[in-house]
């Protein structure tokens, strides 16, 4: 359990973050003064440039870099946008305010330079990630948040959240409705007070999450159900990691049985390619995969859909992804390519609505040694 006072932590981060940002601007300034062409080096953000870090057990960027240089019109525009964004972020930190990524995109319209405005939101999102990487400060510490987080927790956990209206103590079963506890954008403002949890179960789809809650799986097994809502937001991954690290809880991930869902597991366990610079902060390498496994499709004779071409491509690309180069994954992916089928979590309902809570999960989690 964290003994740090979040109050001072945040303040320190803000000052640090601001300084780091201004250093970036100063760097460009100095390059100008030296008569050099301003440039900014970034790790290449592709799957060929992520390496496994033995110490932390997560995947991080390798040493290949690409350079944004003012030598080209494109590079110069990026640097100009970076300079404007730095100014905006520094000012935001100064005033202790926050904004969303989308707001940044719209805000750029008001900047006094025609060249500095973003052409789409992907561009501004990417720039913020660039700044995270070169400054070593996370987006949350820039006070930038995504538009929607929306992911929820449900289970025997009591926590304290710093809100705008002061501290709130919340029990994630007793103090919340059916929808569960909404994870805030910056989960580092949460303090865990008490819990009865045996393990954390991260679930991909809303349908399956609701089934588990309805069947009382969280109370029956002392399980904290984390709803991933598809590809999990940073806050979801961060809180999952904190639950594992601070409360020493095992984490398991339960998704559909298709290549896109394996990537969801991958980003929870190993970190995503886009945010490999934050893997240490976001990834839970100890997280284990529950299913649906291709083997399940065979064993339980689940209703399936055939693999589409894009599914096959994604599976093949995963075979080359360093994050999936384990015996387990290679075996499962090759089996799936072999049978040419995929199945959703809800396909388990083919054996009855209670099958998942009465049979599938208890058996599987028992095999995995979680219960």
């Amino acid at each position: 359990m964290s003994a740090d006072t979040p109050e001072s932590d945040t303040k320190l981060n803000e000052a640090e973050a601001r300084e780091q940002l201004i250093d970036l601007a100063a760097d460009i300034y100095d390059q100008f003064e030296r008569g050099d062409i301003p440039q900014m080096s970034l790790p290449t953000r592709t799957k060929s440039n992520i390496v496994f870090d033995e110490d932390s057990g997560v995947w991080v960027y390798g040493d290949r870099t690409s350079t944004r240089s003012a030598n080209s019109v494109r590079g110069a525009r990026k640097l100009l946008k970076a300079a404007y964004t730095v100014e905006f972020l520094a000012q935001q930190l100064d005033e202790d305010r926050s904004s969303t990524l989308r707001e940044l995109y719209y805000l750029s319209e008001s900047w006094d330079s025609d060249e500095a405005g973003f052409s789409d939101q992907d561009e501004s999102n990417q720039l913020v990630e660039d700044l995270e990487i070169v400054s070593g400060v996370t987006r949350e510490d820039f006070h930038m948040r995504p538009e929607e987080s929306g992911a929820t927790l449900m289970g025997p956990l009591e926590l304290r959240e710093q809100t705008r209206r002061g501290e709130r103590d919340i029990h994630c079963q007793e103090d919340v409705g059916e929808g569960g506890y909404q994870i805030p954008n910056n989960p580092d403002t949460i303090e865990f007070l008490d819990h009865d949890i045996d393990f954390v179960l991260a679930v991909e789809t809303g349908g399956m999450r609701d089934r588990l809650i309805e069947n009382g799986f969280d109370t029956d097994y002392n399980c904290l159900v984390v709803h991933l809502k598809g590809q999990p937001a940073r806050a979801t991954r961060r809180i999952t990691k904190r639950l594992h690290d601070e409360l020493d809880l095992p984490v398991v991930v339960f998704t559909d049985g298709d290549p896109w869902s394996y990537r969801i597991y991958g980003s929870v366990a190993y970190g995503s390619i886009k945010s490999a610079h934050l893997s240490e902060y976001l990834a839970t390498p100890e997280a284990e995969y529950v299913g649906i496994r291709p083997q399940d499709i065979v064993d339980y004779d689940l209703p399936t859909d055939p693999l589409a071409d894009s599914d096959v491509n994604a599976l093949e690309s995963e075979l080359e992804d360093p994050r999936f180069q384990t015996d387990f994954w290679e075996e499962q992916i090759e089996l799936q390519l072999d049978i040419g089928k995929k199945a959703e979590q809800q396909a388990l309902a083919a054996q009855g609505l209670d099958f998942v809570t009465d049979t599938y999960l208890p058996d599987r989690l028992g095999d995995m040694g979680v219960i």
């Binding site: 201004i22 601007a25 100063a26 460009i28 300034y29 390059q31 100008f32 003064e33 030296r34 008569g35 050099d36 062409i37 301003p38 003012a70 030598n71 080209s72 019109v73 110069a76 525009r77 640097l79 100009l80 300079a83 404007y84 730095v86 100014e87 520094a90 330079s113 025609d114 060249e115 500095a116």
Partner: protein, 801 residues
């Protein structure tokens, strides 16, 4: 065509009846009915053609006289007609010639001349006179003042179409303010629908005749169109050349043979043709003899048999002399591989002469003839009945050598035997022309194939023919004389073939006056306001004995029209071709060039390219091949088309590198524009964020632009000029620093010029890519500087000094 052949059994008198209706038609009458052939097919076109003919004549006349042309063209509406006036400052025409020049078709000085001229047939201007008299009924009014005469001569004349002779309606002496020149005034039925073509014609004439001054007035113009001279340099004077042996046709050759004063063909060739001297004439004559007489095949000789035969044939010359003569003839022949009949005659003559000297005996003509006959009979003995054959052995060797080793020996032997039989049956002296040999070999080969069941293909036959022909020797007989050759069509044809067969130097090109690439460019510059000009002049080439030169020019950009196809200007002997663009060889060539390679848009990759460009093509020749008499389009002659393509491509290559450079400059400029906005903003922003002053961005800018930066540093009295080359190649700027006080300690590499209290420090460093050069000198403290840098494109240069 109606058939005038009378048919048997039908109306007996029909031929007589028809004959009554048949009469000679004059050339003038013919053209009256076939105006279109001369370019007078419509009122609109007739006017343009008339202007064209008159202006072409005027230009030719001026150039011939070495006068810079000054030509005035006026078109006026006169009632229902148009009046055309063309005035030049040429040498004028004498009173005697004038009526014929304007009033007789096919009268001119150029038809027989091999020289580059605008006019060729002597039809043009008189056709204009004819056309005007036919349409308006009015005579042509001509004034001419020959150079050096006090007065001008005035004529009114029409053409008598029956006789093709001028008919003078009025004639008087008059005064004229021009010191020399000619003025023609004709009235014709016409219209100005072809105004554009008329303007094009005059404008394009100005392009290719930058030495001429032209003025055009016509009713649709408020101001006369004036085209001033672009150069004072007249085109190089052309020399008339005699025809080239490769360029004449049989009819022409016979006419020339009939007209020449030479007696021998050799003299005729040297006299009447260009590039023919004694040596070339001899080569032609040898070929001519081969064709006319054929060559003789020689045979080997059996010494003993020949000696016996010759001894037998000589009588009453004494034993010693006879023995000497016979053995000498035999041994001479024996030492030769083969001897033909005329060579044998020569051998016998030589030996007889020697014998006469040795033995004081006369070996007269009869003896010699007998000896030749006896020796020849021995050498070529052939009689199948008595199995006598001296020929087959020699031929076997030849055939065997000429055919491939895979030929069966029996086939070779059979072929040799058949050839021998045919040679024996033929000319006694074994003479044959190349065609004769060919026929003989063919027959023998056919028989060999038929009877020996062997193949004797074309290649083998050809080889045998060549083997025989190369061993046959040209006979010494005198070639036919000019008179005989002229009289006999076949003989003349043999001479023509011999001329064509002989390698002869290409004709000289001083009969041509190309505009030259410089003046092509100057002409384009004068009339088209473009950004880029290129021109190319090819070396002279020959087609059918007539030398020709192709030139091409391209103008691009500037004020030229952006949309649509490029403008193609076509010229032949400096005359613009206005009509029938689609039928012209130049158009075909331009269309088949892939213009995309040269940076011009070309929909579909073929056809006329698009873009703001003018392409001009000029073909100069002593005989420009037109598709018709109206001289509107060049005929598709492959040799000329090839040269046109090469010339256009040569100019187009320059266009391509210009366009490439322009594009990269444009990109650079765009980049410079954008970065020129972005970088200062970036500098301002980082200064704002860091709370410092705006950084100096010149260095970064220069580097980004691959620029050459010129900077000045001052340290007390020491001045340093620094050239930084940020590009990747060596730059050599011309730096001139203008200083208001006298600079001292200037290093040797720079020069200082004092100009009225200003000092020009000139420095021309060579700076490799990525490096810098420094010039350091000393000057008093309060001096002012002004630096000027040349030799580097302004887009690449940043001066901060």
């Amino acid at each position: 065509m109606t058939s005038f052949q009378s048919q048997l059994g039908e109306d007996q008198g029909i031929a007589d009846e028809l004959a009554e209706g048949q009469r000679e038609i004059s050339i003038a009458e013919f053209f009256e009915k076939n105006k279109h052939m001369l370019g007078f097919d419509s009122g609109a076109r007739g006017l343009v053609t008339a202007v064209k003919e008159a202006v072409d004549n005027a230009l030719d006349a001026c150039e011939e006289a070495g006068i810079r042309p000054d030509i005035y063209v006026e078109i006026r509406e006169v009632g229902d007609y148009y009046r055309l006036i063309v005035e030049d400052n040429g040498p004028g025409i004498t009173k005697e010639q004038l009526p014929k020049v304007f009033g007789k078709l096919l009268y001119g000085s150029r038809f027989h001349a091999r020289e580059q001229n605008r006019g060729q047939q002597g039809i043009g201007i008189s056709a204009a006179v004819l056309y005007s008299q036919l349409t308006s009924g009015k005579p042509a009014k001509i004034t001419s003042r020959p150079k050096g005469e006090a007065d001008a001569q005035y004529f009114e004349l029409i053409i008598d179409t029956d006789s093709n002779e001028p008919e003078i309606k009025a004639e008087r002496t008059t005064s004229w303010d021009r010191s020399h020149g000619t003025r023609i005034e004709v009235e014709m039925e016409a219209n100005m629908r072809a105004r554009q073509q008329l303007h094009d014609y005059v404008k394009h004439t100005a392009v290719v005749n930058p030495h001429a001054r032209l003025e055009l007035r016509e009713p649709g113009l408020d101001e006369p169109l004036k085209f001033e001279r672009g150069t004072d340099q007249l085109p190089a004077e052309t020399k008339e050349i005699r025809p080239h042996p490769h360029g004449v046709e049989l009819g022409t050759l016979i006419k020339m043979l009939e007209a020449t004063e030479s007696y021998s063909v050799s003299g005729f060739l040297q006299e009447e043709f260009t590039r023919v001297g004694k040596k070339t004439a001899d080569k032609v004559i040898d070929n001519f003899r081969d064709r006319h007489f054929g060559r003789e095949l020689g045979w080997s000789a059996d010494e003993d048999a020949v000696e016996a035969a010759v001894a037998e044939a000589v009588s009453n010359k004494g034993a010693d002399a006879t023995d000497f003569f016979a053995s000498e003839v035999a041994s001479t022949l024996g030492s030769r591989e083969r001897t033909s009949h005329h060579e044998l005659v020569e051998v016998v003559d030589n030996v007889a002469d020697a014998a006469e000297g040795e033995f004081d005996t006369r070996f007269g003509g009869t003896v010699r003839d007998n000896a030749v006959e006896a020796a020849w009979a021995t050498m070529t003995a052939y009689d199948e009945e008595v199995d006598e054959d001296e020929l087959t052995g020699d031929l076997y060797g030849l055939v065997d050598e000429a055919t491939s080793t895979r030929k069966d020996d029996a086939v070779v032997a059979g072929m040799a035997e058949r050839l021998a039989r045919r040679f024996a049956a033929g000319d006694e002296r074994v003479r044959a022309t190349h065609a004769g040999v060919r026929a003989l070999v063919d027959e023998a080969a056919d028989d060999t194939e038929e009877f020996d069941d062997a193949t004797f293909g074309d290649t083998a036959r050809e080889n045998v023919v060549e083997a025989l022909w190369s061993r046959m020797v040209t006979v010494p007989d005198d070639a036919p004389k000019v008179r005989e050759t002229a009289a006999e069509r076949d003989t003349a044809s043999e001479l023509l073939e011999s001329m064509r067969e002989t390698d002869i130097l290409a004709p000289p090109t001083d009969c041509l006056a190309p505009i030259t690439d410089e003046l092509v460019e100057a002409g384009l510059r004068k009339e088209f306001d473009a950004d880029f000009y290129a021109a190319a002049t090819r070396d002279a080439e020959v087609h059918g004995g007539d030398p020709f030169i192709v030139e091409a020019g391209i103008a691009y950009g500037g004020e030229l029209e952006e949309g649509g196809q490029v403008d193609l200007l076509r010229f032949a002997n400096r005359v613009p071709l206005v009509y029938q663009r689609g039928a012209c060889a130049t158009t075909d060539v331009v269309k088949r060039i892939g213009w995309r390679n040269y940076g011009l848009d070309q929909p579909g990759g073929s056809g006329m390219p698009n873009g703001p460009a003018v392409i001009m093509i000029h073909v100069a020749s002593t005989n420009v091949p037109f598709t018709s008499e109206s001289k509107d389009a060049l005929a598709n002659i492959p040799a000329i088309e090839d040269e046109i393509e090469l010339a256009v491509r040569e100019a187009a290559r320059e266009l391509k590198s210009y366009l490439n450079k322009r594009r990269s400059m444009q990109k650079r400029r765009e980049k410079q524009d954008v970065l020129g906005r972005i970088l200062p903003e970036m500098a301002d922003k980082v200064a704002e964020v860091t709370g410092r002053e705006r950084p100096n961005i010149e260095g970064a800018m220069a580097r980004i632009m691959n620029n050459v930066g010129v900077e000045r540093e001052r340290d007390g009295d020491t001045v340093r000029l620094i050239v930084e080359n940020h590009s990747d190649r060596t730059e050599e700027p011309d730096v001139t620093d203008i200083v208001s006080a006298e600079p001292t300690d200037v290093p040797e590499e720079a020069t200082v010029v004092d100009l009225d209290g200003e000092w020009f420090v000139k420095w021309n460093p060579s700076v490799p890519g990525g490096e810098e050069a420094v010039l350091e000198y000393t000057v008093a403290g309060d001096a002012e500087f002004d630096v000027n840098v040349d030799g580097i494109e302004t887009e690449k240069l940043t001066v901060n000094a």
